[in-house]
């Protein structure tokens, strides 16, 4: 089959690029990113073809796990995620072409970037447990090395360590999941697993393991803590890949296991992903809205989106378990589209953050400001990304949110009481998440790009090289296009939905116009982005014309009014932290036990007042700091055994002997 050989060639090219980049040095390295871009294009084209034709390519090679060999399979599901992945890789590679090889560190990045890209593609192609976990771990490993690329910085070392340990925990969980699916006979090929779905008890364990394994990679609360440390630590185009794409590979893993390999679901399987997902969505944004580091805010917002996707997946499970295939299709379409959309706008945002970092050398929001004047293009692209991330029409983020809300609204129709009680809570939490997202990105954009520069670097900023602008512009274009043509994307999902939930969205054109997105049936819910966009365009243009006709066109530039006492110093602007204050007061006290302390100087004293805020991350305390301490403490205790006298060691030996003898004596 030519497609697979094309993909194979592309993967080979990536591998070659990795080896090439390790061996050569100097100008020749400039070839690496173009090579990656081409490979991503080829892979993406193959995926697209498979998705549109709804075909399925399989291949077996005599390598990989002994006795069963390497199974490869490209079905619509993996093809769809392949499009997500390779789109991100393409953008990141194009962005990478713009790097100034003299200044930026590349020796530790270029060999691993293609490896990372290849590993992510391999995960999607894998059709047996060994190949899957092999490439999965390879993916973690490559990204680990990229995270620690700035190895001199102890922070990034700590982040990398936490990251790979969490990845290992996740992999262990996935090992269990696949172990349960394969059974004692060791049927590691996915086809064998499909043939023999496990017993209910085992299936439950497998689901839990899969949730832990994929959740830890995707940043599901409470397994998220590594993500906001690791993603920002990497070079920005890698952060874009990790946040925008790698999390989607995690989603893919969960979908593959829960919807494909695990057999028919029980309704209560839906609860863990729904509940955890909703918690993740809200908590992730609460973190984001209180954080002051640009890239970390983006990473936290990634956590939120992963949570949203998991909610959608949970709903899909619930509907499917109850045989409501249309509703399941709506939820699943929401999940998949959100994965796609998020990969676009999050990659865009991280690339934008990278541009800001490149231009100013700063990531702290309170040190930025006014960049819209200094780097207009980046500012425009970032604005698109920010609005898309806040799920605002007519951009792509809203399409998937809309579908998800439709699914939530359909949930009360399910027979199980637990899901009844869940549905309003979930709906409210998702709405809260959406509102918080808007607040979060208004805050980010308002402090980083609007207002007046808060630091010399921000004042001296300059826009980034053309290649990087192209990368961002392309993604911004996709965000707009995806927002307008969401229905087209949804129809393209048909084969995937049919495979996974045995249902589909109403076919295109069943709505009032060709482009109207329809959930269930046109009489029930319709969202027609192009029409609305058209209306808004017409309205604003007419307004423009009319106003300019009627009104005095005179415009004067003057100092800011600011209630009559403007202060020239940019320090008087609202900062990111002050913007967060109302939200912190309202939500922070509950979520993070936020405490504010103000130290006022005594009257007549001219020294400034001090204001400080204390936030407590309960999850970190309970699930990360405490176990870490426990391990070290225990190891210190046990370490005494390293310093015994020989006689004591003999005592241990003697004890072992006598105990075993005693056991032998009592057992008959």
């Amino acid at each position: 089959m030519p497609e697979l050989s094309a993909s194979g060639a592309a993967l080979g090219a990536l591998a070659a690029a990795a080896v090439f980049a390790t061996l050569v040095r100097g100008a020749a390295l400039a070839l690496v990113y173009p090579l990656c871009a081409v490979a991503a294009l080829v892979l993406g084209a193959v995926d697209l073809r498979v998705l549109l034709t709804g075909t399925e390519l399989t291949q077996q090679l005599p390598i990989g796990l002994p006795t069963i060999g390497l199974h490869l399979r490209l079905d619509p599901l993996s093809a769809f995620f392949g499009i997500v992945v390779n789109g991100g890789i393409l953008a990141a590679s194009v962005y990478g072409m713009g790097f100034d090889r003299a200044k930026e560190l590349t020796r530790r990045v270029e060999p691993l970037f293609p490896l990372f890209a290849a590993a992510m593609n391999l995960v999607l192609l894998a059709d047996d447990a060994y190949a899957f976990l092999f490439s999965w771990e390879l993916m973690s490993l490559a990204s680990w090395a990229l995270v620690v690329a700035r190895h001199a910085d102890p922070e990034s070392r700590r982040a990398a360590h936490l990251y790979l340990v969490m990845a290992a925990i996740g992999t262990a969980a996935l090992l269990f999941a696949f172990g349960g699916l394969a059974g004692p006979a060791g049927g590691y090929a996915f086809d064998t697993m499909r043939g023999h779905p496990p017993q209910p008890m085992v299936a439950a364990l497998v689901l839990a393991a899969a949730l832990i394994g994929c959740g830890s990679k995707g940043g599901l609360v409470p397994l998220h803590a590594w993500l906001p440390l690791a993603h920002p630590a990497a070079p920005s185009h890698v952060s874009a890949l990790m946040s925008g794409v790698m999390t989607k590979v995690a989603i893919y893993g969960f979908v593959r296991i829960a919807f494909d390999l695990l057999g028919p679901p029980a309704w209560w399987w839906a609860l863990p992903p729904i509940i955890l997902g909703a918690l993740t969505a809200v908590l992730g944004l609460l973190y984001a809205v209180l954080d002051r580091d640009l890239k970390r805010v983006l990473a936290y917002s990634t956590i939120e989106n992963v949570g949203v996707i998991f909610v959608a997946l949970g709903l899909a499970l619930a509907f499917r378990a109850n045989g409501e295939h249309e509703a399941a299709a709506v939820a699943m379409a929401a999940a998949l589209l959100h994965a796609l959309n998020h990969s676009w706008f999050k990659s865009l945002l991280f690339l934008g953050a990278g541009a800001v970092l490149h231009a100013t050398g700063r990531r702290d929001l309170d040190g930025l400001g006014g960049l819209i004047h200094r780097m207009p293009r980046t500012a425009a692209f970032f604005l698109v990304g920010a609005l898309a991330a806040s799920a605002l029409p007519p951009l792509n983020g809203f399409v998937s949110e809309w579908l998800l809300f439709q699914a939530v609204i359909a949930a009360p129709a399910l027979p199980q009481a637990a899901l009844h009680f869940a549905s309003p809570a979930i709906g409210a939490m998702l709405a809260l998440a959406a509102a918080l997202a808007a607040a979060c990105f208004v805050r980010v954009y308002g402090t980083a790009f609007l207002g007046r520069p808060r630091s010399a670097e921000a004042a001296q900023a300059h826009d980034v090289p053309l290649a990087q602008q192209i990368a961002m512009g392309g993604l911004a274009f996709l965000c707009i296009l995806g927002g307008l043509l969401g229905s087209v994307l949804a129809t393209a999902l048909a084969p995937v939905l049919a495979d996974l939930v045995g249902g589909g969205l109403p076919r295109a054109g069943s709505g009032p116009t060709v482009f109207s997105l329809v959930a269930f049936d046109p009489a029930r819910s319709v969202y027609d982005a192009p029409v609305i966009a058209l209306f808004v365009a017409i309205a604003s243009l007419t307004t423009l014309v009319v106003v300019h006709r009627l009104s005095a066109r005179r415009t004067r530039r003057g100092p800011a009014w600011d209630c009559g006492f403007p202060d020239p110093s940019p320090a008087t602007q609202y900062t990111a932290s002050s913007f967060a204050q109302p939200l912190r007061r309202v939500y922070g006290t509950a979520a993070f036990a936020a405490r504010e302390t103000v130290v006022m100087p005594p009257p007549g004293d001219s020294q400034p007042a001090r204001f400080s805020v204390v936030l407590v991350d309960h999850v970190w305390r309970a699930l990360y700091a405490a176990p870490g301490r426990a391990v070290l403490g225990l190891s210190e205790r046990l370490n005494a055994l390293q310093f015994l006298t020989i006689r004591r060691y003999l005592v241990l030996m003697f004890a072992a002997l006598v105990i075993l003898l005693a056991i032998a004596a009592v057992t008959t």
């Binding site: 771990e137 070392r157 090992l175 696949f178 172990g179 059974g183 004692p184 003999l650 032998a664």
Partner: protein, 478 residues
């Protein structure tokens, strides 16, 4: 017509005799390498030649696995020590007079291990194993520093006690076999014993297995019998550390497994499986925790060897074709990887002039190539792809979960704890700002690269012949 297995045994001893007579360091080193190469050739020849079941020797799929690994690592180690010991002499850590002695001892040790491996007579097996142990004792004390001497002394005491217990176990096996096979040599011939296992007295077999487990377990390095292992690794010459971790532990394990097969042949006897599972898990988890407090790089990896031996014993304790296969594979991979790591550690110790983690930082800045090699080796031993250890750990964990879901949590827990420590130390050594001196490394990197390539190949593609061979061995293990 001399058979390969005789070569495997005789070549090293002959070389030892010659080497004793050779004063020069260089000639000795070359001879050492050549002899090891000859042994390796013989070992490989065994792979193709058909099996043997004689009165004193046996060659079946099971021990051929071990013999090949043994001769292979023996060869690469000889290669490594050829350059390494040279450096040791220059730096004056090792008086030149000792080198002749060192080479002879090395060959004698290899020979003794091969004796233990090909022996069909449990007495001979015992003799070979103990001989090898005692020789390594001497090797560990080679540097004659107080630390080295104490390490050797500790090793000596614990090993000797182990020797005695193992011998008692051997006597008991003889007693058990005597009624069925009559007095004399037959009752000590392993192949006959196994055939007659069903008629043996279960009570005596229980007793015997316990003593053998404690006795040989001491050499396998199972907790709580492990005490000698870390210090012996840390204080001996690095090639010996490589041989200890890579080979001696395996040979002891081999003996243990032979007896497990024997006991398993008598259903009325105590099932060795659970005992091995428990001891394996104890060693695995204990060693994993101990890793965090280590400050000496060689002692650190010695504990990691305990950890992996624990995992292997656990796998064999689980039993069944899949787990046994995984156990054998993991054993092979661990020998190759761990000895490779000790080669790398030798390089590092020469580059930085110390074994203390505190003085080893930022290798990726000062010695990029070495850092990459070391990183790959540690990644391999940590069970990450694309290396063979990943394959075996994948099989062990999945099959355990499929059979005993809750039991599977324990090995996973241990491995994760160990993983955290490995990664911590890896990052500490290769990243960050370099400290201390940065000498040129003149030990040959060929063995290290060779091992890494082998482990890498195993992770991606195991030749079907090899697989079938492992599978037959796994079946023999039952």
């Amino acid at each position: 017509m001399i058979h390969a297995y005789q070569l495997v045994v005789l070549a090293p001893y002959a070389a030892a005799l010659v080497l004793v007579a050779i004063p020069g360091y260089r000639v000795g080193a070359v001879l050492n390498v050549l002899a090891s190469a000859a042994t390796l050739a013989a070992g490989l020849w065994l792979m193709v030649s058909q099996g043997v079941v004689g009165e004193y020797a046996i060659v079946d799929e099971f021990n051929v696995v071990f013999i090949v690994i043994n001769t292979l690592v023996g060869f690469t180690t000889a290669l490594f020590s050829a350059s390494y010991i040279g450096h040791e002499i220059e730096t004056g850590r090792l008086p030149p007079g000792f080198v002749r002695f060192y080479h002879a001892m090395f060959q004698a040790m290899m020979g003794s291990m091969n004796v233990a491996l090909v022996a069909n007579n449990i007495g001979v097996m015992w003799v070979g194993l103990e001989l090898a142990t005692l020789i390594t004792v001497v090797m560990v004390g080679l540097y004659r520093t107080p630390q080295a001497i104490e390490a050797a002394w500790k090793y000596f005491i614990l090993a000797s006690v182990g020797i005695s217990l193992a011998f008692f176990g051997t006597i008991l096996i003889y007693l058990a076999g005597q009624p069925a096979l009559g007095e004399g040599v037959p009752a000590m011939t392993w192949s006959l014993l196994q055939a007659a296992a069903a008629q043996m007295d279960p009570a005596i077999l229980d007793l015997a297995f316990i003593f053998l487990l404690i006795g040989y377990g001491t050499k396998v390095g199972l907790a709580p019998l492990h005490a000698w292992l870390p210090d012996a690794h840390a204080e001996g010459p690095t090639p010996i550390s490589a041989v200890l971790s890579g080979l001696l532990l395996n040979v002891a394990l081999y003996a243990l497994l032979r007896f497990k097969m024997l006991v398993a042949g008598q259903p009325a006897a105590l099932d060795p499986g659970p005992v091995m599972i428990v001891m394996g898990l104890v060693s695995l988890i204990f060693a994993a925790f101990m890793l965090y407090q280590r400050r000496d790089i060689k002692r650190f990896f010695a504990y990691s060897s305990i950890e992996h031996m624990g995992l292997i014993v656990f796998a064999f304790g689980m039993g069944g074709p899949l787990a046994n296969f995984a156990g054998l594979l993991h054993m092979a991979m661990h020998s190759l990887t761990k000895s490779g790591i000790f080669f790398a550690v030798g390089h590092i110790a020469q580059a930085k002039g110390t074994q203390r983690f505190a003085d080893i930082k930022g290798l990726s800045v000062t010695h990029p190539r070495l850092a990459v090699a070391f990183a790959l080796a540690v990644i391999a031993i940590a069970g990450l792809p694309p290396f063979g250890v990943f394959t075996s750990e994948f099989l062990i964990l999945t099959t355990t979960f499929a059979r005993e879901p809750w039991l599977a949590l324990l090995p996973a827990f241990g491995l994760l704890i160990g993983f955290g420590a490995l990664l911590l130390r890896l990052q500490g050594t290769i990243f960050g700002e370099p400290v201390g001196p940065a000498h040129r490394v003149d030990a040959s990197s060929v063995p290290l690269v060779l091992h890494l390539l082998l482990v890498l190949a195993a992770g991606i593609f195991l030749p079907p012949a090899l697989v079938a061979w492992f599978q037959r061995a796994a079946e023999l293990l039952g």
